[in-house]
Amino acid sequence: MKLELRGITKRFGALTANDHIDLVVTPGEIHCLLGENGAGKSTLMNVLYGLYQADEGEILLDDEVQHFSGPGDAMRAGIGMVHQHFMLVPVFTVAENVMLGHESTKAGGRLDLDAARARVREISDRFGFDVDPDARIEDLPVGVQQRVEIIKALSRNAGVLVFDEPTAVLTPQETDELIGIMKQLRDSGTAIVFITHKLREVREVADRITVIRLGQVVGEAEPTASNAELASLMVGRAVELTVDKTPARPGADALVLDDVHVYDLNGVPVVDGVSLTVRAGEILAIAGVQGNGQTELTEAIFGLQPQVTGRIVLDGEELTGRTVRQVLDAGAGFVPEDRQHDGLVPEFTIAENLMLDRADGEPFVRLGALRLKDLAAFAQERLRRFDIRAQGIGTRVGRLSGGNQQKVVLARELSRELRLFVAAQPTRGLDVGSIEFVHEQIVATRDAGVPVIVVSTELDEVVALADRIAVMYRGRVVGVVPADTPRDVLGLMMAGEAPQAVAA
């Protein structure tokens, strides 16, 4: 199915998120949409999917003008969308999720679950997915949930498939599999729109590339274009793709973890005897495939895990058993992995989110009352410095684009005197320009003599930032290696193999 968008304009109050955007996607093509955080990519796709009504412009499918008053219409017309935050009911089975909204029924309105199961199996077999129609969504790993989303779209014979940042939550292997699936779909004649911030993926699958900046199409690029060319087209200036940093000058041992165990609700150890030392003024990167205990380890440092044994010491001060408040007061800054759940209150404004961790005293609260003027000035400054793209400091954080939400968290955590900085997936969902900025900030924090832990599943990021690398596998540290360790060695370590020589 051929998709054509003509002059799509979408405004949110004074902000024009999409400004006369034209886009053509032909069948059997993977069309990449590139653009900075807040450029308007998701907005455009939401217009296409009927979630938003365009203020101007029209949508054509196979040269016929469409009028979508809701996602139901768009879906019936053959548009499928794989949302970044999956639109699946967690307590339903795969089959129930796939049939929802276009259920086939037997006599008396009873659900025909067998038909739905058969449909799931048929599509799974066609594309070689391994998805059990009777599995419950909440029991499935993220990668499989995403496949369910794809099956959902295909089961309605979608001729146009939209993937909005599908790889942000996937492991490298899952990403490779998804790319394979996308190519397969393309070859079977589906028109695909693919949004990502990872230039490597773009060059691997894109047939055509359209770049959007500030709501406008700024140009097309060839898939053969270099990373630097793509990046500068997106951001409008040259971008440093490699982190510019001097060798670390580490000081004394600052954060010491000694035989730390973290147990989950069932008493199963998820962090299993980790001992690590981070020195002042160095970045220790914790690498590993998602779900090997990194998240729990960082949460344990901040008193966010209920069952922790072992010792966690910062500058000679015991952190184990402290409350979150006490850990923050000890000068620790934390960028949690899941910004939407743990890092922000979406209903609050940017300004309010920027002072969340300092709601009980100076400088923003005096005698129990908020000092709004100081807060406003502070928030304005942060907004400017971290280049948060929003209408103003009064904008609700839930309305920001994904990347800008992440910047709000960073802006808050990096605005205090720190004695420890822990960032989990600090650049997830960020565009290349923002990644450059965040990396600079992290390096600057290190250079100010703060011990820094960066948890990342992206090898690129690990290699770019680390002074030393710890690799975690199944709750244990496989080894701590220098930053210049070859990638294939790191890859093996991430699969659980001990390094030949444990250096550093």
């Binding site: 276009h102 309105g109 659900l111 069932n266």
Partner: protein
């Protein structure tokens, strides 16, 4: 329901909460221990007598005489067996079937009744005890069905009390005026639905906090019916507040079953509607398109929206349906049990129905069982007072609630309501 509970990725499900499930086993154990101490340790000499017959029975059954101590021992043994079964099932990571707690509860209730009436002056009229319990449970069950539907679609329904009361009032007045029970019944449903409209409008359209709207509605309906009752109904009670009364209809064969037959199948149309309602809502929720969409909207409204289901519409109409069902429960109070409306005739039944919804884990069948338990608890005191039990009735009245608290405490953390209940849905 079965498809919801089975899963092939057993490992992940198993990891979800073995510890918490052990808590249920603990509750079996504690209750069994209490039963042992009370029923066997504190057994009193003598016998308990149970009358099984009602006057109009086809076959007149003799009285059943249970020796106090022996019954206590048997019940304790059954309780121990249930506990062992629970332990074994838990060990094998199996699901606890619904019959297990039911058998357990029935055994404990028999034990308790026997214990409490051993040495009492009169025999306990069993059909009367059960029938009275059902009568008290009917409005609770209707209310709970309404509650289940509305919470499952994502709207917390605190207004059940108001819906019951509105149904009771309107049913009585309309039936008095028209002299037609059917018209009265329909009017009661409409009244319950109107209360729902207000709840739905404020909660869904204007995004007002659902609990607050519910509480306000309850107060409003109570005030309004009190006002109209004193001002209008009392002076003209002959024309406005003396509706005809539903008379029981005996279902041929079924009503001849000893003991349970007359209790369950010599009932009014409203009760038969209730049986139908429980079955229909259960099948509807878990087996039909209507139920799938309803639950999707209550669990993940955005997901429902993106597949073209109207969240607002689904919520609105199902909350209205819930109100209509609760209205029927109100009508039972004024058209079946007593043919007239009195001030605050529901006296908090709506709140107990709400408790039944939660205790029943948002499942229509379990909520019905919970409502029956609450009905039984309220009726127990009356009956034991009449037969002259040597145990202080207040103590007995307390016991079922103690059991309930234990049971609910065991369920906390294990049951999970609809994820989006109480949260308004804002598009985009």
């Amino acid at each position: 329901m079965t498809t919801l509970e089975t899963s092939t990725t057993g490992a992940v499900v198993g990891a979800a909460g073995p510890r918490r499930s052990w808590r249920v086993v603990w509750i079996y154990g504690v209750l069994t221990a209490i039963a042992l101490v009370v029923l066997v340790g504190f057994a009193r000499p003598g016998v308990a007598r149970f009358g099984l017959a009602t006057g109009s029975d086809f076959v007149q059954l003799p009285e059943v005489v249970l020796p106090g101590l022996a019954t206590g021992i048997v019940v304790a043994l059954v309780a121990i067996a249930c506990t062992v079964a629970a332990v074994l099932l838990r060990r094998r990571d199996r699901h606890q079937p619904l019959w297990l707690p039911v058998v357990f509860a029935v055994a404990l209730v028999v034990g308790l009744l026997t214990w409490a009436t051993t040495g009492a002056g009169q025999s306990v009229p069993l059909p009367g005890l059960l029938g009275g319990s059902l009568a008290l449970a009917v409005p609770l069950i209707f209310g709970a069905l309404g509650g289940v539907i509305s919470e499952r679609v994502g709207v917390v329904n605190v207004a059940i009390e108001g819906q019951l009361l509105a149904g009771a009032f309107t049913g009585a007045v309309v039936a008095s005026l028209t002299r037609s029970l059917i018209v009265g019944l329909v009017a009661a449903m409409v009244a319950g639905m109107l209360v729902s409209f207000v709840l739905a409008a404020f909660a869904i359209k204007y995004l007002v906090d659902q609990v607050i709207v519910g509480v306000v509605l309850n107060v409003l309906v109570l005030g309004l019916t009190n006002f109209l009752y004193t001002l209008v109904l009392v002076p003209a009670s002959a024309t406005l507040n003396s509706p005809p009364q539903f008379s029981p209809i005996a279902i041929p064969v079924l009503s001849a079953i000893p003991v349970l037959g007359p209790v369950l199948f010599r009932q009014t149309v409203i009760v038969y509607l209730m049986y139908l309602g429980v079955v229909a809502v259960t099948i509807g929720l878990f087996r039909t398109k209507w139920g799938l969409r309803l639950r999707a909207v209550g669990e993940h409204p955005q997901a429902a929206d993106t597949v073209g289901i109207s969240v607002g519409g689904t919520r609105f109409w199902n909350v209205s349906l819930a109100g209509a069902i609760a209205g029927l429960g109100g009508a039972y109070l004024t058209l079946a049990s007593v043919p007239s409306f009195t001030r605050d005739v529901t006296s908090g039944a709506g709140f107990i129905a709400l408790a039944a919804v939660i205790f029943g884990q948002w499942n229509p069948v379990k909520a019905t069982l919970a409502a029956l338990l609450f009905g039984f608890a309220s009726n127990l005191q009356n009956v034991l007072g009449i037969v002259g039990s040597p145990v202080p009735p207040d103590f007995l009245l307390m016991l079922p609630y103690v059991v309930t608290i234990f049971a609910v405490a065991g369920l906390v953390g294990q049951v999970r309501g609809p994820a989006a209940a109480g949260r308004p849905y804002i598009k985009g």
